[in-house]
């Protein structure tokens, strides 16, 4: 039993403590407060709401691990979604075939990749601060989208697109499957590939990484490109879920993705953090939101509680480190 526990501890890493405890606390508190909380309905609604925020959080995660930030995620997703919407519209709208949809999705992914690649190139080659670069990209993409759509929305897609947003396979929602596949992809990317290793190295110390012979520029460009591709996936999912694309969809998610990353134990300066704790943190946030909904509060209160949760986790982390220091002092 203890070995299993140790195994889990090693596999989950030290980042797991915060979100793990928060998960248990949320389930316990709402389980007691509301009898309907521990039901299939709650987990069903979480399963449908999780992917939108989750995919964007994955897009935010990689840049944060390199010590940067990608503030353009929601608008990259919007613009990629627009691209897909136009391709569908131009080729039959409601009657478009599966082939057209695949082309549309591919083009959306390319648009996302391009926006990420531009940011990555500017950040890698000019050493400008990622916050500023991604911020100007965000302003640009928002403007581009508003310019092209005049602030309106585009809708009218073939019925099978809706399945991606609302359908289920064997009782599991399709968007959740997409999201879990992406989580696993990111998990493998960070744990098993050279690029993942380089991402952590760059986040810890860019100069040292460069001196050790790693092409940091290439790695940074790749990281932001992948981040853009993940945004595009989120954009396609959002298109399918709302059955429309509008610039501004999911804008309020931007800072919440950062919050979810930090809640998942990611170091704000980069270099440390894992995918699975971030995934758990996301589940906690959505459970909190559903639980508050059941108790009768609204989405805005949930936003406030998410903020409070992050502060509480940060204070607990500070308290634990203080206790640890005092134990070490007493021991010596």
């Amino acid at each position: 039993m203890t070995t299993v526990f140790e195994r889990i501890k090693v596999a989950a890493g030290p980042e797991m403590a915060g979100p793990g405890l928060a998960f248990i606390a949320v389930v316990l508190i709402f389980g007691i407060a509301s009898p309907q909380f521990l039901s299939a309905a709650t987990f069903g609604s979480v399963a449908f709401q999780l992917p939108e925020l989750g995919l964007l959080t994955l897009a935010m995660l990689l840049p944060i691990l390199t010590g940067g930030l990608n503030l353009a995620i929601t608008f990259t997703a919007n613009v990629a979604g627009l691209t897909a919407a136009w391709v569908l519209k131009a080729n039959g709208g409601v009657d478009a075939g599966l082939g057209i949809f695949l082309v549309a999705a591919l083009l959306a992914l390319m648009v996302g990749a391009a926006s990420g690649a531009v940011m990555g190139l500017v950040i890698a080659f000019t050493r400008a601060h990622p916050i500023l670069v991604s911020l100007s990209m965000m302003i640009f993409l928002r403007g581009l989208g508003e310019f092209l759509t005049r602030g309106g929305d585009i809708s009218g897609f073939p019925a099978f697109v809706g399945v991606i947003g609302h359908g289920s396979i064997a009782g599991i929602p399709v968007p959740l499957i997409v999201f879990v596949v992406c989580v696993l992809a990111w998990h493998l990317l960070l744990g098993r590939t050279k690029l993942g290793f380089n991402t952590y190295m760059i986040g810890s110390n860019l100069e040292a990484t460069r001196y050790s012979g790693i092409n940091t520029r290439k790695a940074i460009v790749l990281v932001y490109t992948l981040s853009g591709i993940m945004c595009a996936i989120a954009g396609i999912i959002m298109l399918a879920r709302f059955n429309s694309v509008r610039i501004g969809h999911g804008e309020s998610y931007l800072l919440i993705t950062v919050l979810a990353c930090f809640l998942g134990g990611v170091d704000p300066f980069g270099g440390f953090g894992r995918v699975i704790p971030v995934f758990v943190a996301l589940v906690v946030l959505q459970l909190l939101s559903s639980g508050l909904n059941l108790v009768g509060a609204n989405q805005h209160l949930a936003t406030a509680v998410w903020g409070i949760l992050l502060v509480v986790v940060m204070i607990l982390r500070w308290a634990v480190s203080r206790i640890r220091i005092s134990i070490v002092r007493r021991g010596s």
Partner: protein, 333 residues
């Protein structure tokens, strides 16, 4: 003069860009190069400049704040309600209430950051969500249009009829902006606290060993931004003649872009009031010029985003560095 240009490279290049854009615009449009338009620009940019100089102080001290625009919304709402309680009030009481509410919210950030050693971006993203969530929850998104008369009446400090019959005017927001800019400039360049803020932002540990009280620095920096956010929020309510809970949502990132464009460094220790003001003005002038040239307002953000992206690319690098294959000369950055 040459050393002045070298030490203030960002300010001079911004000034050069502004002059260049203005020159192009004065030829391309009939109305740009007029006193009336210049005053309009000042009236429009006033609130953003107030926010920007506040944020500058926090950036100099090595922090970052995402929550100030939402805090300003909270202050607007709180002030409007408080003024209702005391039965009207006036500019003095309005500014006092808004300013102290702002300082309170700013100090809450500083408290979290200093007491619990939370990184400023984490702390302020949390408070952003807390302030905004609670504001929308308690107000239910309802706007306040029933403001006291003194707050919504336009205060014209200077007006003159131009030869062509149009009126030019400077309104109260500009005066408040000037006071805020001068006060911030005095704080960071003419006082010991200002030097300590720079030192703290550049090297917190060094500053601590030098005997600078770090906690006090955090409270001054975030408190100052809170003050500016409070005052800016009240002035925004005066300018817009209404209090809308989510009107300032998203403003923080625009202001941040302008301040960093003006030469403040994310990471602390660098930045000037002049650069900060020029950064905001550059964006307003571009927007104003595009408007006068008859470009669709939907394209504004796109063009401004592209300009910032190009500006940072060019200011951080020389052309040959962008093309490593051409410019290879043994050493690479």
């Amino acid at each position: 003069m040459r050393s002045l240009i070298r030490t203030h490279a960002t300010e001079f290049s911004l000034l050069a860009v502004i002059v260049a854009i203005s020159a192009v615009l004065s030829f391309a449009t009939t109305n740009f190069f007029s006193l009336g338009n210049a005053f309009d620009l000042l009236n429009i940019s006033a609130v953003n400049i107030i926010f920007a100089v506040g944020l500058l102080v926090v950036l100099i001290a090595g922090g970052i704040d995402i929550s100030f625009a939402v805090a300003a919304s909270v202050v607007q709402y709180g002030t409007a309600i408080a003024l209702g309680w005391i039965g009207g009030g006036g500019w003095i009481s309005g500014l006092l209430i808004a300013g102290s509410l702002g300082v309170l919210l700013g100090c809450f950030n500083a408290f979290l950051i200093h007491r619990f050693r939370i990184i400023s971006i984490v702390a302020t993203i949390s408070t952003f969500n807390i302030y905004f969530g609670l504001l929308m929850f308690f107000t239910r998104g309802v706007s306040i249009y029933d403001l006291p008369d003194w707050l919504t009446d336009r205060v014209i400090l200077f007006e003159r009829e131009m030869p062509d019959g149009t009126w030019i005017e400077i309104t109260l927001p500009v005066l408040v902006m000037i006071v805020c800019v001068v006060a911030t400039w005095t704080l960071i360049t003419r006082t010991t606290i200002g030097r300590q803020l720079y030192a703290f932002g550049d090297n917190p540990e060094g500053a601590r060993r030098f005997g600078i009280n770090i906690g006090v620095m955090q409270f001054i920096a975030f408190g100052w931004l809170g003050l500016m956010a409070g005052v800016g929020g009240l002035i925004q309510a005066h300018y817009a003649q209404e209090v809308v809970p989510n009107a300032l949502y998203g403003r923080e990132l625009d202001v941040l872009a302008a301040v960093v464009l003006g030469g403040a460094r994310l990471g602390g220790g660098k930045g000037t009031v002049l650069g900060c003001v020029l950064g905001v003005l550059l964006i307003s002038i571009t927007q104003n010029g595009l408007n006068l040239m008859g470009v669709s307002p939907f394209a504004f953000k796109m063009i401004i985003g592209a300009i910032i992206l190009i500006a940072i690319t060019l200011s951080n690098t020389r052309i040959e560095r962008l093309l490593p294959f051409i410019g290879q000369r043994g050493t690479r950055r």
